[in-house]
């Protein structure tokens, strides 16, 4: 465990990524220690989602290197599969499997890619459903649940793979306001377990409470990186000041 704290879970070095003519990431470098909680914010189109989608290979970076838990993210093949079994991801649109029950949504990954037996997987799934406080919904289908409940199922689905790292891609942006806090509560609970977390979010109250490191991105670059106390009270750049002013107004 002591060693894990010293090790860096994620090392991103000089990463570039373009979509056609649009440069989504320009020379981005970021390292995240094991157990660290990073919140990434910035205006839309700033590359924050693209950055975390590069970490588990949903987007391919063009140059630079990404090392996750000691494994270099290569173009294809085994390394990608290995990284994905260690990195969980929670999406803005939940992306639950609509034809499967909540329980089957959660156990599909562990059964197929970790070769767990159905009994083991079900047991594990129930412990995580209890962690997100909806064990009673196990036999329902996603469309029978509210948005907040669906997102909590999605979190349980990621946790059931027992990842070292969890990525959150604007997990509360598609939710009705009254459901945001139930999801944030679960995420705060997770932060206390010591799992490495990278969250793209505009929930600044959450960020202030759990983040070890704040990252502000604009136009494909990391503009500012600081602990939350410094980040919120004395940001270095004008762009970051303006952004915070706008987002904290409401």
């Amino acid at each position: 465990m002591a060693q894990a704290v010293i090790n860096e879970d994620i090392q991103i070095k000089n990463v570039f990524k373009r979509f056609g003519d649009f440069e989504a990431l320009k020379d981005v470098s970021l390292s995240v220690k094991a157990g660290e909680r990073v919140v990434i914010c910035g205006p839309s189109g700033s590359g924050k989602s693209t950055l975390i989608r590069c970490i588990n290979g949903l987007e391919r970076h063009e140059s630079g290197s990404i090392i996750v838990d000691g494994i270099t993210l290569a173009e294809r093949g085994a390394s990608l599969q290995q990284i994905r079994s260690r990195v969980g991801m929670v999406f803005q649109q939940f992306n639950l499997f609509p034809h499967l029950t909540v329980l089957d949504n959660i156990t599909l990954g562990p059964i197929r890619s970790k070769k767990l037996s159905r009994v083991q997987a079900n047991k594990l799934a129930m412990t995580y459903l209890e962690r997100v406080k909806i064990p009673e919904q196990a036999q329902k289908y996603p469309r029978q649940l509210s948005g907040g409940q669906q997102q909590r199922v999605a979190i349980a689905r990621s946790l059931c793979m027992e990842p070292k790292i969890l990525l959150f891609d604007e997990p509360t942006s598609a939710l009705d306001p009254e459901m945001i806090s139930e999801v944030l509560d679960v995420m705060i609970g997770l932060a206390e377990t010591g799992i490495t977390m990278i969250c793209v979010t505009h929930e600044m109250g959450f960020a202030r409470r759990v983040a070890d490191k704040m990252v502000f991105m604009d136009e494909g670059k990391i503009v500012e990186m600081a602990p939350p106390s410094k980040f919120f009270d004395a940001p270095n750049t004008q762009r970051c000041k303006n952004f915070l002013k706008q987002i904290l107004q409401h």
Partner: protein, 246 residues
Amino acid sequence: MKKLIILFLAVAFLPGCSDDWGWYVVNPYNRSGLINLKFLLSGYYFTLLLSFTSILISVVVGLLVALPGLSKNPWLRNFNRVYVEVVRSVPILVLILWVYYGLPPITGLDVTVFWAGVIALALSDSAFQAEIFRGGIQSIDKGQYEASHSVSLNYRDTMRFVILPQAIRRILPALGNQLVYMLKMSSLVSIIGMQELTRKANELVVTEYRPLEIYTVLVLEYLVLILVVSAGVRWLERRLQSDERG
């Protein structure tokens, strides 16, 4: 629907009371009529066997042709396009004749009437199945692939457990249409001597000289068959959809 059927029966059978018609050929209450009727009905065996065997094969082949069509590799995509375009432009009747008379000398294989029919029907239908599958798979949201990747599923498992179960629910009405189409197209295989419904009717017409009555029975045979199959498909659709809604 029921009213339509009764109307059709009335139009078909009422004139039979006059002397111009000879329903005796298929009247189950006299001996030769019963034999003739049984002869006609026995055609169901090969119509069903032929159609269902063909559609099973064409669904599998269609899926195998559809998947390369969704690939990023242009060669695989071209294979899909060429297969679909070429197979789709040959009329089924021509395909049946070609498979029956052309395939044995080319391959040296002994192709029976039944398998010639199956190959021709399945081949022809597979091009349509491929297009149906491609559309169904493309209609599935990109997020489903991303979620599958994020729980470390490989391509096969993603397709098998996430994408195809959803795609098949969506294309079920189209697959039902293809099944009905196949049942009807199987009548064309009569031309190479397959003993299915149409061939039996043709043979009986030659011996009894009563085309009007015998072909009327043939029409009814197909009508009943297709109504039953359509009802079955609709039942299956409802069952699969209630799964999702719970």
